[in-house]
Structures are given as structure tokens and as C-alpha cells.
Subunit: 390 residues, 2 copies
């Protein structure tokens, strides 16, 4: 991670506050697993993640990893304690991946996770996706800016079987990388996986299916997906959601629903992604991870400036004791900065105008009347106020 | 770190919110350096910290460390960017130390830091100590519970020189460990450092000095400390502060004021500690670190329970679409949990009574009148409300 100076930390806090407030609206509670985990819990995290993990042995020779993603820790937390259902959790956790740094990627980043554990009903999947849409809407993004691609692992497996593909895992991994390959390279790679021309043609039809009504095979995944879309309609977010059977998600632990949020222009990697994992923990669950890197690129929030309610300027060193008293009084209900650099008044005013509209000048003459001067730095208007009335 | 389940994360968030609100009252802004740092920046972090550091080589053979403390990162951030003064920063950052785990210690913990950079005036040191006192007071601790021990590195150095001690660094390190040693072992160790009986007697007098007026040597540190105490009086916190020349702080980068907050009963390690570091960054600075472990032991906050504004109970599966609509409507301004487990009504009510006072029952008969039943779970009283009036 790069250093977050105040102007960047303010933007991150703005994002985190939205994560927190939407999660709480839906009855989710914050948790936090540790950053240092036993490396072995990431065995089901697909191909890429274990390769990108920072891992090392500690002094007692245990192989530790810096958390590359949060779901395995959540599964461990669920298994380690007797908890009553439903478990509705969210977390904002630092994650680490050793990969080439570029726009939207960083080796150290923060990830928001939201998980609903204890139900196999597609209503849970819909609620979870709804919170994702609500977060993106709260960030002032519209359906012109983003959409959610949705698929189901069971359905794609059944569809691949229906065209007699046997090496389903390899083919799925290839479909997952499809967007990074040219059409030609994709077909060549499918041939390398022993698909014949008919299978390749059928496969291309499958991953381009845009409506569930066009699927004629029997599949539990199809039933689930139809149910999910009916709930998405009830949650009033169908406009943001799109069937896309080419969505795989890299993780091996997803068993049913999978989904990814993308920017409409497809300029960036996935904004967020998740799915249902019915075998990872002792209860079935569904959830997603949402990194802070891509979304911050997409938002382009203008820099927020430091702001305090009052700046207090003592006109000379002798006044400091009184200025401290006034500052402390105002701090009961306000944010207040008091000069600590012994600057002259004009330098103080220049600085104050960067951080507040309300300048309090503490001068000797005013003090005799038990007053201060409050200057509105926007209008330049001044008034005298009794210190006892502050 | 142990896993933070919701009941613990709530307490941590309560603590973090106090850190944030007091810092902001005094015009400090939040920043965040990365967790993974180059190991070499901790060379001035004293004896213990480099030994307790988690460090490892990354794939390009750089020696990295998991941040054991935050001050060196803050100094780096100040040196890396052209910033205008004053720099008033705070941070809440995960730190790692490989040490024996016991009450008040953990290998992974969160540390609050507050720093004021750009001034050598003792008013800064006083303001920084004031924020520490305000945080402890906001946590409902009183002067019966904690106090701040304050010293000055220059003064103790001058005092040791005045009794002809030459190996000042070693003697200081020993004084730092004094509380962990018996009186007898302390004296033996002083003898090992070649102090004669007269020096040992004089040294014991020095570290027991309780009033600055009793010090008769010339020392810049004495002037600073007198000035600091006069500001602590202006900030109205003299009652919480105590001169204690045995306070050293382990870090080599402190140059002047040093201070530590302790519980009055001295049951625990320091709650927080800090000081002035005029040579660590390109500007003079003063600040402190405040770990979350000791304070959480000291507070013994009762567990806070999950609370939502409303729980919505559909009486059967057919009602779910309408229940979703009602939940979404209420979520505009409230936190709302809706059953996702298809539980029967009595199970739902049992669960709801754990998390809210307001139960909304959505039943078929009510719906015909476009109403719901709102039950107050404390009093048991019910009323029918038009859905349009929710």
C-alpha cells in the first residue's frame, strides 16, 4: 500500500462509512479476523492466490501467511465457536497479494466482506447482492456506471456435461480467463483441452446465453438461478443484474451462485465478487469481497480538505493561557485548532483560511472586556462575543 | 490477534470512535502508513523491538518487516512529501510483535498514534498529553484509575552526568527496567555497570525526585520540563500528571519530553507512552502510541449486544415478497433484519427479542387491510399500522 496522507485517508473513510452503514441497515455486524493466518487455510482459494501469498515461517517454524483474502478466516471463525443462526457478518480487512502493482492493484489493500451464513435460500443470495448494489448506489454510481454479472456453478457444470465435456475444471478455468484472451487464442486453448469443433461452437453458444428461458436442460443450478432472479426482482435491482454464464470466480470453494460487479465500460477489473460456498464452513454461506482499489479509481472523488469548526489565533505569546482556556471550552462541542507554532497574526489568518470559516482572534484589548473577535473568513465580517457566551 | 467476534469488535469500535473524536476535537487528521515496511527503518526503535519484529525477505530479496510500531513510518511520511506546518496527525494501525502472549500483550494488536510535528514549544507536548488524558476520561476513567508519569531525557542525562556517570546509555536502559527488578538486583546491576556506592545512592535520590524545585543543576531539560508543567496546568490536567525521572521509554529516538500513562494500581504495563523526537524526521515532533490491549483489560466493558431498529417476521413463505417490500421501505432510515431462514413465527419472535424491541409481523389478514402489526417486545403491546404510514 502506498502511504495514505490525510487527503486520501478521508476518501477511504468516506468509503468505509458507506460499507458500514449499508451493512448495518441490513442487520450485519462487524467482525475482524487476524492478518497473520496459518498458510494452509488458503488451499481452496484457487490457483492464483496461493502463488501470490506472502508466506514465511515464524520462530517456531509454523508456515504463516499474510491474509490474501478473508473468506477462509470467516469460515474458520464460524467453525471455532458455537454460534446461533443466522450469522450476518461484515468486515473491513487489510489483505496482501504479491503481484505486479498497477492501476487498481496494490500489494497491500483493504477489502470489505459481507457474508450471510446459515441458509440455502436464494433469498439470502439476493439480499447479499442487494447490499452490494446499495453500496454502489450510495457511492453515487448509477446503472450507467456498473452492473452485476451473475451465474451458477452447478448450472455451468451441467451445461458443460451436456455437451460431453469431461475436463470441466480445466475448461472452467479457461472460461474464467476468456476476457484476457483474444477470440483466436481462446479457441486454440479450447482445442488444447481436447474440445472438438462442435463442442467449441456449443460452448460459445452456452457462454453467450442471455436468458434463462433458453436453457432446456434439467439442472438444480437452473432452478436456483431462476429463484435468485425472482428475488432480485422483489429487491428491485433487476436493472443492475445480468445473466452471464462466463463468470466463474477463481475460488474453488464456490458451489452455486457466483457474481461479479463490473464498471460498464469494462475499463477495470471486477469491483467486487462473490458467491455461495456451501461446503467451506460448517454451515452454508453466501458473501462477497469488495477491494478498495478499483472502486477508488472509478469514483474519482475530489480531494476533501481538512476542516475544523474554529481556529483560535492568540495575537501574542502572552495571550496563550487565555487562548488555551477558550479552546478547551469550545472543544466540549466543536473541533478547534489553536496555534502551536507561535506564528504572527497574519500567518495564522492565512493558515486558518485553509481549514475553517470561523476565526477567533484573542487580543489584549478585547480580553479586558471579556470578549473575543469572531471573524467569518468567507465574508470578512467580524463580531465581538462575550467569552462566557461561547 | 485473536479473532474479533461481533461482541468484541463492538467494544473495539467504541474505543476507536473515542480515539477519532478526541483527535478531531484538537484538529488532528487521520493518516495510515502501510503494514509492510522496509525493516531498516526500525534501527532507532531501541533494543526490544528489532528482536520482536516479524521480518522476512520478499521474492525480490528485500528485507521487509511487519510494522512493530508506527512512529518510524510517520517520520518517513513526513520526509517523503513537502508538507506545510503544523502537521497534526493521528492513526489507528495494526502492529505486530513476536513476544510471549499474555494478558495485555498480543502478537497482533492495534495502536493509536497521535503526533504534532513542526514545533519545539512545550505547548505542543502539553496539548498532546492533554489529548491522552481526554481519551482516558472519555473512557470513563478518573484520576483514581490512571496517571501520567513524565520526564525529560535531557534532564536525566544531565543529572547522571552531574554524578559523574559516563556510561549513560547503559545506566538509562537499566533504569528503564527497574520496575521489573528487585531493589537488590537493581543495585547489583548498577555495580556491574561500575557505579560506586556513592553514585548508586545519588542515583536513587535522583530517580525519586518528586518536585522540579529540588533540582539545582543547570539543564535545558529542566527548563523544558518546568515550561511543560506550566502548560499542563493551563490545560487543567496537573492532577493527572506526575514527575517521574525513572521513566525512560525504550526508544532511542526520544530527545526531550517522555511520558507514560499507567493504571494507578500498576497492575498492567503502560497504557500508552510517547515523547518528543526532534531528530527522527525533518521537523521536530512529539507524539505517543496507545495500544488497544492494556486499555481493554482495564475497561472491562460489559458486552454490547447486537441491536437493530426493526425485525420483520413474515408469517409464511407466501408473504415474503411483501415483507421484502416493507423491509426495503424501512431501510431508508432504519436498520432492519428480515428472516432469511424461513423460520416459523414463534422461532422468529424468540430470535427477534434478542436483537430489537420492535417486531413487525406481516400476516395475510393484516395485508388485506394494507396493514402490519407492530409489537413492542418489552411491553408486549401491539398496534396495527398502515404500510403507507411506515
Amino acid at each position: 500500500m502506498t502511504d495514505l496522507y490525510p487527503e486520501n485517508k478521508r476518501i477511504q473513510n468516506y468509503l468505509f462509512n458507506i460499507f458500514r452503514s449499508i451493512s448495518e441497515k441490513y442487520g450485519y455486524e462487524e467482525i475482524e479476523p487476524p492478518i497473520l493466518e496459518s498458510a494452509e487455510i488458503y488451499k481452496k482459494s484457487g490457483q492464483e492466490i496461493p502463488e501470490q501469498m506472502y508466506s514465511f515461517k515464524d520462530k517456531s517454524s509454523r508456515l504463516l501467511a499474510l491474509r490474501p483474502e478473508t473468506t477462509p478466516s470467516i469460515a474458520r471463525m464460524i467453525n471455532n465457536k458455537s454460534l446461533s443462526l443466522p450469522i450476518k457478518w461484515f468486515s473491513i480487512s487489510r489483505c496482501f497479494r504479491y503481484e505486479r502493482e498497477q492501476a487498481g492493484r496494490a500489494r497491500e489493500f483493504d477489502q470489505f466482506n459481507l457474508d450471510m451464513i446459515g441458509s440455502t435460500s436464494m433469498q439470502s443470495d439476493a439480499e447479499v447482492i442487494k447490499t452490494l448494489v446499495e453500496i454502489l448506489k450510495s457511492l453515487k454510481l448509477t446503472k450507467k456506471d456498473f452492473f452485476i454479472r451473475i451465474s451458477n456453478r452447478k448450472l455451468i457444470d451441467d451445461l458443460l456435461k451436456s455437451i460431453n465435456i469431461t475436463n470441466i475444471k480445466q475448461v472452467s478455468q479457461l472460461i474464467d480467463k476468456k476476457d484476457k484472451l483474444s477470440e483466436k487464442d481462446f479457441i486454440l486453448s479450447l482445442k488444447d483441452l481436447d474440445l472438438n469443433n462442435k463442442q467449441i461452437k456449443d460452448l460459445q453458444k452456452i457462454i453467450n446465453i442471455s436468458s434463462l428461458d433458453k436453457i432446456k436442460i434439467e439442472s438444480k443450478g437452473l432452478t436456483e438461478l431462476k429463484e435468485l432472479f425472482s428475488y432480485l426482482k422483489l429487491y428491485n435491482i433487476l436493472d443492475y443484474c445480468k445473466l452471464d454464464l462466463s463468470i466463474m470466480r477463481g475460488f474453488d470453494y464456490y458451489t452455486s451462485t457466483v457474481f461479479e460487479a463490473f464498471d460498464t465500460k469494462k475499463q477495470f477489473r471486477a469491483i467486487a465478487g462473490g458467491g455461495r460456498y456451501d461446503n467451506l464452513a460448517s454451515f452454508p454461506g453466501v458473501g462477497y469481497g469488495f477491494g478498495d482499489r478499483v472502486i477508488l479509481l472509478l469514483l474519482k472523488i475530489p480531494e476533501l480538505e481538512k476542516q475544523v469548526d474554529y481556529y483560535i489565533a492568540p495575537v501574542n505569546k502572552k495571550i496563550i493561557p487565555k487562548a488555551i482556556q477558550i479552546a478547551e471550552k469550545l472543544r466540549k462541542n466543536s473541533t478547534v485548532e489553536l496555534d502551536l507554532l507561535n506564528r504572527n497574526l497574519s500567518k495564522q489568518i492565512k493558515y486558518a483560511s485553509l481549514i475553517t470559516n470561523n476565526l477567533i482572534i484573542v487580543g489584549e484589548k478585547d480580553l479586558k472586556d471579556k470578549k473575543i473577535t469572531l471573524r467569518d473568513l468567507k465574508t470578512g465580517k467580524e463580531k465581538k462575543i462575550l467569552i462566557s457566551k461561547l
